[in-house]
Assembly symmetry: C2
Homo-oligomer: 420 residues x 2
């Protein structure tokens, strides 16, 4: 099961070579290929499910948590969704070749700024096998070759999905070498991949914070990081109380295990006594554990824990919420900029001037006035898909989809101009 | 002269704090400040020149090369140019607040993608003192606080320029804390700066390859790298010979010490015998040392050296040129993608189809048909200024100016929407 160092280097070389050809394919050729790949997944359903069962058996033997086994499971419906995602990706607008600007200089040079693929993208991810198929689709559509390194828990599933898709590519114009899977379960394979800066242009790690830190620390290739989401909702004293309750409840309860769920609720001191009792009652009914600041605990005297300093910077990914009463907008902004993770933060207020101040002053990828932070998502934003949600500020910020898998270059058309 | 670890951390904290205020300033307030700063440089000319003399005296004592001493020298004209650059920067379009897109979702959410400053930008650079002033201007105009770390050779000059500009800020709306100079000559200060990812959003190293590699390896903050320029010109068999000679001569000779100068000339085998003798004669007259491939040396039998494998990946920054005869477009493209540095490359051809193929297939920031690579430059591209030329593909590619000193965020306006 070990992939040797040389095997990873060869994969990177093959991917690079194929990427030049891929970068020049017409949109229709890429879309045709995605359709062929989509059909192949449906045709090979039985094989995919059989291979997935091997991973599930291993997971049970290793006593994996139920939630993890669920995420690993590939059934009819899951495969149909993967196939549909490839079709959806085929229908998305091709970002490659988009002219981002044209300017003619006084000396007659015509400079075009044009969107181009990165070249080769490495994706390092954990658990869910559909990521394999989704990422292959997004990378190929954006004209990039892709090298995948999945987790050992989905070893057989990832191998099966990528081999079905690579097989399918043989009857298309996309070179099969444009898809490479590092199927080694040896972590050294990741280290080798992260050093192939000669061949690989971008690394996207998807998974837990440890994985992402490991990748960021060891990569000589640029990494777009998708760190945790410590998302806040600030309920202003100018908020519509009923709306605030609805938004906060949704942001915490609807799906607590994801990065755009709320982890800390900030409440203006002027409305805390009116707002908190009913709100916290609703949270408690939903099974949410509350960890409050001292002022919160003076209003809600029973059944809430004391929030420690660590709570303000913790991503619970669970039915736990920290609550803090603040003096006003300025304190809310400072709290978020200090403890947040630059992901998604919301204000609930009827005062649009206050809303604008919040939008401008909070340093996060996605900022909301009067809506739930749960909308931070490529599909919800209308990007059709997403490769992840970047918490970096460089290159891509927030939901990262096809456009964010491209870079640009300048094409300069002259008539013999030389520099004076 | 040592800046303690704590001093650098405090600088980063102050810069961060000021950046929030700076990010919200109106364009007019920033422009007014740049004008005040520009006047201050002119008013304090005598002081700046006196401080610069201390650096020049030290440089002579250390027996620095003449070219380096020249680059270090600050005279009346140099200070006037710095002052003018600040005025020019004031006249550039403010990128902050530009709406990059607005989309209304089916649920009524209105999502705006808006250009915002990064926050705090660290610039680590060598020798020329005007970089201090130019970078302060560009960073402040784009709404960013800036932390500067210049080289020890310009210690007094950099300190004088930044103190004059910080003084000038006191009567403006830009907080003086938005400009920080690490005046330590201790390299550990750089290491400390590179770890302040909590406060600093972006690092731009400007200088030799060693400096850039050091920064890239030690920084926990994202770095936009400005590596070397191994620029090529490919003379096709479909080239206008006279144009090709003019372009190649300009790209090599006009200013050989800069990154957009040509280092390798590729010539189609079909025209080599006609093209090379006169071309090489011209180069020799200009004092250019030629290092040729074996086929070149069969055509030009005397006075040219043998090119080694290492020559193809060497940035001479000098009157030296490597010359290779290639079989055609494909070989030229492969040579450039293998040995080039993704900076600037040109083709000379009258066949526009061939030109288009070259533009699409070469993986460099700036690609030219029938023009000199010497045009890769922020001013020449019409950006008004430049902070450098990025050889990275992530975030900024090619000339990096005001727009490239910004990132974006999504502002989402709701009416109480929650996720279903």
């Amino acid at each position: 099961m070990k992939t040797s160092v040389h095997a990873v280097v060869r994969m990177a070389q093959k991917a690079k070579r194929s990427s030049v050809q891929l970068s020049m394919l017409a949109t229709s050729a890429k879309n045709d290929a995605l359709q062929v790949m989509s059909r192949a997944l449906l045709d090979r359903k039985a094989y995919l499910i059989a291979q997935n069962r091997k991973d599930l058996a291993a997971a049970r033997k290793r006593n994996y948590a139920k939630a993890l086994v669920e995420r690993l499971t590939l059934n009819d419906k899951g495969i149909e969704e993967m196939a549909q995602c490839l079709l959806d990706t085929a229908n998305l607008k091709d970002p490659v070749g988009e002219v981002l600007g044209v300017f003619t200089r006084p000396n007659g040079l015509v400079i075009e700024k044009v969107r181009v693929p990165f070249g080769v993208i490495g994706i390092i991810y954990e658990s869910r096998p559909n990521v394999t198929s989704d990422c292959i689709g997004l990378c190929l559509k954006s004209g990039n070759a892709v090298i995948l390194k999945g987790g050992k828990e989905a070893f057989y599933s990832n191998k099966a999905i990528s081999s079905v898709l690579k097989d399918a590519l043989k009857v298309t114009q996309i070179p099969a070498e444009a898809v490479q899977l590092v199927s080694s379960t040896d972590r050294r394979a990741v280290n080798v991949l992260l050093c192939q800066d000669q061949y690989v242009d971008l690394i996207v790690p998807r998974g837990g914070e440890d994985l992402i830190r490991f990748v960021a620390e060891h990569s000589s290739i640029p990494v777009v990081k998708h760190y945790k989401g410590i998302c806040h909702t600030y309920v202003s004293d100018k908020a519509d109380m009923a709306m605030a309750r609805k938004i906060c409840y949704n942001a915490k309860v609807q799906r607590p295990g994801v990065c755009n769920a709320m982890e800390t609720m900030l409440v203006h001191q002027g409305i805390a006594e009116r707002f908190l009792p009913q709100m916290i009652e609703e949270f408690k009914k939903a099974g949410v554990e509350i960890r409050g600041c001292p002022r919160t605990r003076r209003i809600i005297k029973t059944g809430i824990k004391k929030a420690t300093e660590k709570d303000w910077s913790t991503e619970y990914l669970d039915l736990i919420l920290s609550v803090k009463i603040v003096g006003g907008l300025q304190e809310a902004i400072e709290h978020i900029n200090t403890y947040g993770s630059r992901h998604s933060d919301a204000i609930v207020t009827e005062d649009m001037k206050e809303g604008e101040q919040f939008l401008r002053a909070v340093d996060s990828a996605c900022l909301y006035v009067n809506a739930s932070t749960r909308f931070t998502d490529g599909y919800q934003f209308g990007f059709g898909a997403e490769i992840g949600i970047s918490t970096d500020k460089l290159h891509a910020r927030g939901p990262m989809a096809l456009e964010e898998l491209t870079t640009y270059k300048y094409l300069v058309h002259g008539k013999g101009q030389i520099r004076q």
